[in-house]
């Protein structure tokens, strides 16, 4: 068993590396241009960005380097096509390469195109402008325009794959270095280290999600046990209906209604039950102190989340218990003269908890990612809101930091789940 868990622990490393590669690759596929985002944050309107500014920023961000340690490409490709900063020229260059044009010739065409563009821009009559427009960034149209200058015989008809090594001078490696040495690097919004921002926001998120998790599990198990132990009766029927009602209500709707009607005296002084939303400010205090001083303001978010998840947890526990109660060993226990309560506490409960472990583990991992809806409605600066904002403005350092952290927590949580399985059910054997 020990070697099994050691192996599982060691597997976390390649899993995290794989996740980081996938995340990195996905970030490169998004349509948002980070260079433009960075320049806009430096106060330059997109319309006023010059080619020189774009190229400088592109190089500053290291986007002129290859993406990974190696690449497998057709042999007429260059070491990296990222050397060309202008996105349209790069797109055209890649299109020409894809058609089979050797990279030296493709670069030559780009130079010719630049010369044509400069000439047309200098001329600036309507015919020139239309021509310039028609050339655009489309390889076919470009090829058509170039006419006899474009030699289609140059195109390779057969592509032979080749491996290009880029060594440590690549974007992924730079990014890994940034993780270890610079805490995932700076956020593009305010220059603060991503890890600091995430560290702060996770404290807010955990402050209410962990309490919600604890209450949901505690109350959910208690309610589930109660409903399984005494399934019939008017109280049980009402309780089930109430739980289903809260489960059916969308969290955002429930939260909005509670906020509008229960936090102010606009609708009568008796409706002002909970503190208003928005955390109070205590300059100079740490995040934890802020959370402690705002504890009363977290009650309503916790109630909203707990009411919603209570029905779900109790239903799972009740079903699981009912299933156990139908098993032969329970019948045998009855025949031995044991009371239902004794059977429940001594035998059934432990067995019934096993399927619920997965649920609790998943809920624990999810607690770290926060509840975006609740954080937005109650204006809690937690991790869900941070991730949402970071994605909107392509603040990749922050996104990566959250992603890697959540992946790590999820893996560890599931490992802990496996341990709990073994604890609750000694029959389970692990092989290394």
């Amino acid at each position: 068993m020990f070697s099994y868990f050691t192996k599982r622990l060691l597997l976390i490393i390649p899993t995290l590396i794989l996740i980081s590669i996938i995340a990195f690759a996905l970030s490169k596929m998004t349509p948002q241009d980070t260079v433009i985002s960075v320049l806009q944050l430096r106060g330059i309107d997109q319309e006023n960005i010059t080619a020189r500014q774009y190229a400088e920023c592109y190089r500053d961000l290291g986007y002129d380097k290859a993406l990974f340690y190696f690449s497998i490409v057709p042999d007429h490709y260059p070491k990296t096509s990222n050397k060309i900063p202008d996105p349209d020229s790069r797109k055209l260059y890649k299109a020409l390469l894809k058609k089979g044009v050797p990279h030296m010739h493709a670069e030559n065409y780009l130079d010719q195109l630049q010369a044509v563009e400069n000439r047309l821009k200098a001329k600036a009559d309507s015919d020139s402008l239309i021509l310039l427009n028609n050339i655009g960034a489309d390889a076919e149209r470009f090829a058509a325009y170039m006419g006899e200058k474009y030699d289609s015989k140059l195109e390779n008809s057969m592509f032979y794959p080749t491996i290009r090594w880029h060594g440590l001078n690549n974007q992924y490696h730079d990014w890994l270095k940034q993780i270890f040495y610079e805490g995932f690097g700076p956020s593009i919004t305010d220059g603060k280290r991503a890890v600091e921002k995430v560290g702060k926001s996770i404290q807010w998120t955990l402050s209410f999600t962990l309490v919600d998790l604890f209450l949901s599990i505690l109350l959910g198990i208690s309610t589930g046990v109660y409903l399984a132990y005494k399934p019939q009766g008017r109280i049980q029927t009402v309780l089930r209906q109430v739980l289903y009602f809260f489960y059916a209500l969308p969290v955002f709707w429930l939260a909005t209604i509670l906020v509008v009607y229960c936090t102010t005296d606009d609708y009568g002084s008796w409706t002002n039950i909970f503190p208003s939303i928005g955390m109070d400010i205590y300059p100079g205090k740490s995040t934890l102190e802020h959370i402690a001083l705002n504890a009363s303001k977290l009650i309503l978010p916790i109630i909203c989340l707990t009411l919603h998840s209570l029905a779900y947890v109790s239903r799972i526990v009740e079903n699981s218990l009912n299933e156990e109660f139908r098993k032969d060993y329970v019948l045998q226990a009855y025949s031995m003269g044991l009371e239902k309560w004794e059977i429940l506490t001594r035998k059934v409960l432990r067995n019934a908890m096993i399927p619920s472990i997965t649920l609790f583990v998943a809920a624990f991992a999810a607690a770290f990612s926060g509840s975006l809806v609740i954080e937005v409605i109650f204006n809690i600066p937690g991790m869900g809101r941070l991730l949402y904002n970071a994605l909107q403005i392509a603040d990749w350092n922050v996104v990566f930091c959250i992603l890697i952290l959540l992946s790590f927590i999820t893996i560890v949580a599931y490992l802990a789940g496996d341990l709990l399985y073994a604890f609750f059910n000694p029959k389970i054997k692990y092989r290394a």
Binding site: D190, I281, L386
Partner: protein, 572 residues
């Protein structure tokens, strides 16, 4: 008797002192819908950043919120331009006299060297102050007085229309903080030019250190009435009134007032959450995006009893860009027909609930040179049909879509309309699509991210329509970048590709003349031409929608962001 008199006077003085003490200290809490990121006028000139830094940093002069005219802040008075010739070059100069009592927050006096250092930094090739560079390119020379540390003279190209605004609306950096040795401002150093070559490592160090100040949040040495005391990203920003502020002696100057003790910006992305916070006193000021929600609250008697509702004209307009370069919309008749299909009054009434002002062109209706003689284009599908007929687009095959023969090729009048995901653009596109369908024009609505629309469509004229917004400011408008044929090329601000030699002549006249009457006439004629050519469909200028807690006495303005929190006072 004498003793009684002394006691009486003492009591009187004591009473007066007591009255002074009763001046109540109060805070103002302002809503921001997102984090402004960097709040530095040199390195991050976003409008949201300005909303915060305008109380920390102070320019030499600014557009007054009441009349939108330039008004002095750090200068004694506004200088007039004087023509001169230097080495055969025609220039204008301005004599700038800084206020003698203006002091940085560390107590050092503001001097001409600070201004010189700021300009050198803006112009330096290693400087990351990108946004200001083009404006300062026409500044050719700067001279500091040898006898008066607050006097200087700046020279600009004579034909640069914004020279006065650039010279005076600039913010200033403290040279004694960033360049204590005076590396960039040594005696006899010339103003940095485009062909400038970096001289030594000391200079590089000064520029790099100054560049690094972009992320400085607190302890910024500046001239404004407030200082940044706390900034928690995505949560709040606190500005606190400076003690012993030099501007207290100029409290009649609205930009230097320090009425609230603290100005607190709360970042609340969700508008509904902000309203809920406001209900319970968590916010004093909200600027609305949604007209619907603003008016609903106004009708809520419980809410409106505690809040003041304000609207003001904003320096922005919505428009539908049309492709003047290629496709059916390159024909003026078709563009005019399309203009008659936009029921702008309906858009204002039903989408923005009446909170908008129609505009006939690029200039804001509050500007003195706005051409009021031109009537807004009316919604008239019949006129549109007739114009399309004239342009040769007819529905001969009876399929409900007009077509035009070009040799043997038959082109159908099908147009792509690019929008972002915003509710406003979606609604306008749908209404326009409906109107176009009724006259035989098929509109294909394409929703895309704005940066993608710019990159893939606008920047290479690969579109027919695009729903856009344009922000302007209180300075005189320079239509060159958006309307001159020099810029009717891919990837520029003239994204409609509008080109008219006559309009070019008026634009050049606007930029070059120093006679305000001539400029005004050129502005009016230019608007007539744009009105005639209809290169885009001008929709309307939205009204700024704001609510302010009734406990406060406040004024709103057309100057962005629409209010000045430092001038808010407690209601009497």
């Amino acid at each position: 008797m004498r003793i009684s008199l002394i006691i009486f006077i003492s009591l009187l003085l004591f009473a007066c002192r007591e009255e002074d003490k009763t001046t109540e200290s109060f805070d103002v809490t302002i809503h921001l819908n997102r984090d402004p990121g960097q709040i530095n006028p040199f390195y991050a000139t976003t409008s949201l950043g300005r909303e915060v830094y305008q109380y920390i940093f102070t320019p030499l002069a600014d557009f007054h919120p009441d009349d939108l005219e330039l008004s002095p802040i750090l200068v004694e008075s506004l200088p007039e331009s004087i023509d001169t010739m230097i080495l055969g070059e025609s220039l204008v100069y301005y004599d700038i006299n800084l206020k003698d009592d203006a002091k940085w927050s560390d107590g050092k006096p503001l001097c001409a060297q600070d201004y010189f250092f700021t300009v050198q930094m803006i112009k330096h090739p290693l400087s990351e102050i990108s946004a200001w560079k083009p404006y300062f390119a026409p500044m050719k020379k700067l001279e500091m007085s040898r006898t008066d540390s607050t006097a200087l003279r700046v020279y600009f190209d004579a034909d640069y229309m914004l020279s006065r605004e650039v010279a005076l609306t600039t913010f200033v950096m403290p040279a004694h903080i960033y360049d204590p040795e005076g590396v960039l401002t040594l005696d006899g150093r010339a103003l940095i030019s485009e062909s400038y070559e970096i001289q030594d490592s000391a200079e590089i160090k000064v520029v790099e250190n100054t560049n690094a100040s972009v992320n400085a949040k607190t302890d910024v040495v500046q001239l404004g009435p407030y200082t940044l005391t706390d900034f928690q990203t995505d949560e709040y920003i606190i500005l606190t009134a400076k003690e012993d502020y030099w501007g207290a002696d100029h409290s009649d100057n609205v930009f230097l007032q320090q009425n609230p003790q603290r100005i607190i910006f709360r970042i609340v992305p969700d508008e509904l959450s902000a309203i809920n916070m406001a209900r319970d006193g968590g916010l004093d000021f909200i600027r609305f995006r949604s007209s619907k929600r603003f008016l609903e609250l106004k009708e809520d008697s419980v809410f409106s009893a505690k809040w003041g509702f304000y609207t003001s004209q904003i320096m922005q307009y919505y428009y539908l860009a049309m492709n003047n370069q290629t496709g059916p919309l390159s024909d003026k008749l078709v563009r005019k027909a399309m203009s008659h299909l936009a029921d702008v009054d309906d858009y204002i009434d039903n989408i923005d609930r009446g909170l908008g002002t129609r505009t006939i062109g690029h200039f804001n209706p509050t500007k003195s040179y706005y051409n009021n003689e031109l009537e807004p284009i009316s919604y008239d599908p019949e006129k549109a049909k007739s114009l399309l007929d004239q342009a040769g687009w007819k529905d001969d095959d009876g399929d409900g879509i007009r077509e035009k023969k070009n040799g043997n090729v038959v082109n159908k009048l099908k147009l792509d309309f690019y929008i972002t995901g915003s509710e406003l653009s979606q609604k306008i596109a749908l209404l326009f699509q409906e109107a176009a369908k009724s006259v035989g024009v098929e509109i294909n609505i394409v929703a895309k991210n704005m940066s993608l629309i710019r990159r893939e469509n606008l920047s290479n004229f690969n579109f027919d329509f695009a729903a856009l917004a344009k922000g302007t400011d209180a300075a005189p408008d320079d239509p060159y970048s958006m309307w001159h044929s020099d810029n009717a090329i891919p990837g520029t601000a003239n994204n409609s590709g509008y080109a008219n030699p006559e309009a070019d002549r008026y634009i050049e006249l606007i930029r070059n003349t120093r006679l305000s009457s001539v400029r005004k006439e050129a502005y009016l004629k230019f608007q007539e031409l744009i009105y005639e050519d209809q290169p885009v469909i001008f929709l309307y200028s939205p009204l700024q929608k704001m609510i302010i807690n009734s406990r406060l006495q406040a004024k709103t303005t057309a100057k962005r962001p629409g209010y000045l929190a430092n001038s808010f006072d407690l209601a009497k």
